[in-house]
């Protein structure tokens, strides 16, 4: 992968089509690479501290995302007006919108992500399943494609055996899914999931898959360039989720046999190759109690939890995305051996006591943790206003340590140190510390049900166990 490095910056100017901590994250690497940044913002984000890091700022619309961050004409006009050469979509919003990637291409803008065709193929979960199966990856028993008839779907479910999960083909972010344990509930769940898929994703297609209880969520970070290099940067365990949204991620996946994680990594690379993947991407797997793994989906973007991979590998993933988009090979060292353990905790402005209800408002006190082996990615500052218009992620606290026990202790120290307050604003900090203190998590014997069972009271929560 060695090649002479170019003399100038990879791009003269990149437009960042996102907001919050990821906009800041991308701007930081751009600045380090000498790339000028254009940040777009909605009315709600006009005072966002992330904008301070931009070389240029363009207001693109009102608070509502569908008229700003999700509105391709506004983003494209901003990019063209500001003379940007490329567009980095971050995560969420338009990051996995094949049409948007296509529009960028049509306007002569480099879209920092895989080609539209790859996004389209992997973005459709049924197509992704088929592609993975054809590449030799284990997939869960399920419908071969989308199902529109309730009866046909129920026949498939009956054939697979319960529990099953009904998923939106166009889904993502943990939404548009329903688990069915009892055949009698299937018809209603099917209709509801279709309706919600239509409402949320504008695409009613759903499919049915075997549901694995007690599974671990393990994903592999892949980098691929235009020169045929495809490497795995190791896996992340993202099993601590509330209602299928990740709260804690770590690398490497704890408690899995080294042979198993190696096999999952190789499967991800095969799948990326088969899909013609380019850039940074994530391939997600379920690992069941018997140590079997199954491909579930691919994410064609930088992930929220990418820092844990950066901390163990030393690779700046956004830098690699930019290199690949500029046509360069992956940097030497990308794919090198990982060191130690990294954990990320998502500090959201939500009330864990009320079903993780968002609690937007003015952040008055904001003192993030610091010190050894502690990284905080945040757009928060004292006086920042958390808007109800967007998601509630306020900060990502990421730590590194030589082993998992030390990493957990370090994370608990960092979270304890984190001071966030504002009238009416709650955060997930206390809950995260309870998870860190939970014996199942400490022993790495948890699965994707841990957080939900802790909040629902089905599992002991050990109130205050993390506090000395």
């Amino acid at each position: 992968m060695n090649a002479p490095e170019p003399a100038g910056p990879l791009f003269a100017s990149v437009l960042i089509a996102n907001r919050g901590e990821i906009a800041l994250r991308i701007a930081r690497t751009c600045r380090e690479l000498g790339i000028r940044t254009v940040m777009v913002y909605s009315e709600a984000d006009r005072d966002s501290p992330a904008l301070r890091l931009a070389d240029r700022r363009v207001r693109i619309g009102p608070a509502a995302a569908r008229r700003s961050y999700l509105y391709p004409p506004a983003i494209l006009e901003a990019a063209l007006g500001a003379g940007a050469e490329a567009v980095h979509p971050g995560y969420g919003f338009l990051s996995e919108d094949a049409d948007f990637a296509e529009m960028c291409r049509a306007e002569g803008l480099r879209f920092i992500g895989p080609p539209p065709e790859v996004i389209a193929a992997l973005g459709d979960k049924t197509q992704a399943r088929e592609l993975a199966a054809a590449a030799g990856l284990p997939v869960l028993p399920g419908s071969p494609g989308a199902l529109s008839s309730g009866q046909a779907a129920k026949d498939v479910a009956d054939g697979i055996g319960y529990p099953v999960i009904i998923k939106a083909a166009a889904g993502g972010g943990g939404r548009g899914m329903a688990v069915v344990d009892d055949p009698a509930d299937f018809a209603r769940a099917f209709a509801e999931t279709r309706a919600s898929a239509q409402a949320v994703f504008g695409d009613a297609r759903v499919y049915v898959e075997k549901y694995v209880r007690g599974a671990r969520h393990v994903e592999v970070q892949v980098l691929a360039d235009l020169h045929g290099n495809v490497v795995s940067l190791g896996e992340r365990d993202c099993s601590v989720q509330r209602r299928r949204q990740k709260l804690i991620e770590e690398s490497p996946a704890p408690g899995l046999a080294p042979g198993l994680t190696a096999a999952i990594g190789e499967a991800a690379v095969s799948c990326a190759r088969a899909a013609g993947y380019v850039g940074a991407g994530t391939f997600e797997f379920l690992v069941d109690g018997a140590g079997r793994f199954f491909f579930i989906e691919a994410n064609c973007r930088i992930q929220v939890e990418h820092p844990v991979t950066e901390m163990v590998t030393g690779v700046d993933l956004v830098r690699e995305q930019l290199r690949v988009a500029a046509g360069l090979p992956l940097a030497a060292g990308a794919g090198a051996a990982a060191r130690g353990v990294s954990i990320e905790c998502r500090v959201n402005t939500e009330d864990p006591g009320r079903g993780f209800l968002p609690t937007p408002g003015l952040i008055e006190e904001f003192v993030p943790p610091g010190g050894p082996f502690t990284r905080v990615d945040t757009h928060g500052v004292p006086g920042v206003r958390v808007s109800a218009d967007y998601d509630s992620l306020l900060a990502k606290v990421v730590v590194w340590a030589p082993d998992r026990d030390q990493a957990i202790s370090r994370m608990d120290r960092a979270l304890e140190e984190f001071r966030v307050s504002g009238r009416g604003v709650c955060t997930t900090i206390g809950f995260l510390r309870e998870v860190l203190a939970h014996p199942d998590f400490r022993r790495a014997e948890h699965d994707t049900s841990l957080a939900d069972e802790m909040t629902s009271g089905r599992r002991r929560t050990l109130q205050g166990a993390a506090r000395p």
Partner: protein
């Protein structure tokens, strides 16, 4: 949640005080009272009753922030008594409905939608912002006389950027 303690309070208070000083400077002689509050933090300043002379030299109620929405009303360039009826004598800004290129006329060479001095009705088209080949009409969101066309024809504009100003007091 934790109490707001030292640091944040200091920062907030410092900010309020800085703002207060700006306001005092902006307000000039004759100002009688300034009060800022943010959450628990309050700053109040008061001066005695004016000695019945020296009218307020243009008591700005605080420098306006940039527009939060396409349409807004601000102090006009033309002087006007602040005691006038609400709305009258203040310029109304018409902003871009979308990021894109502003055009004053329906097509090249055609006469502009409006010129300075024209009186427009609410909802009347006063320009176009083109975004990705889509022609988005710019409409006056209230009636008035066109005071100025702020942005030259063919300029790339942000969302909400002021395109022209109206004097609503001159509405028909």
């Amino acid at each position: 949640m934790d109490d707001v303690t030292g640091a944040a309070s200091h920062a907030l208070l410092g900010e309020l005080c800085r703002r207060a000083v700006e306001l005092v400077n902006a307000g000039g002689a004759g100002m009688r009272r300034v009060r800022l509050q943010s959450g628990d933090a309050v700053v109040e300043l008061e001066w005695p009753e004016p000695a019945a002379e020296a009218a307020p030299a243009g008591a700005h109620p605080g420098p306006a922030r940039p527009p939060a929405a396409p349409g807004r009303t601000v102090d006009p360039a033309v002087p006007a008594g602040p005691e006038d009826a609400a709305g009258a004598g203040t310029a109304h800004e018409v902003g871009a409905p979308v990021v894109g290129t502003f055009y004053r006329a329906p097509e090249p060479g055609a006469p502009p939608f409006v010129a300075v001095g024209d009186v427009v009705e609410k909802g009347q088209q006063v320009g176009i912002v083109e975004a990705m080949k889509l022609m988005n009409p710019v409409e006056a969101d209230r009636a008035g006389r066109v005071l100025a066309v702020v942005v030259p024809d063919g300029t790339h504009v942000e969302y909400g950027q002021t395109l022209l100003t109206l004097d609503p007091g001159e509405a028909p």
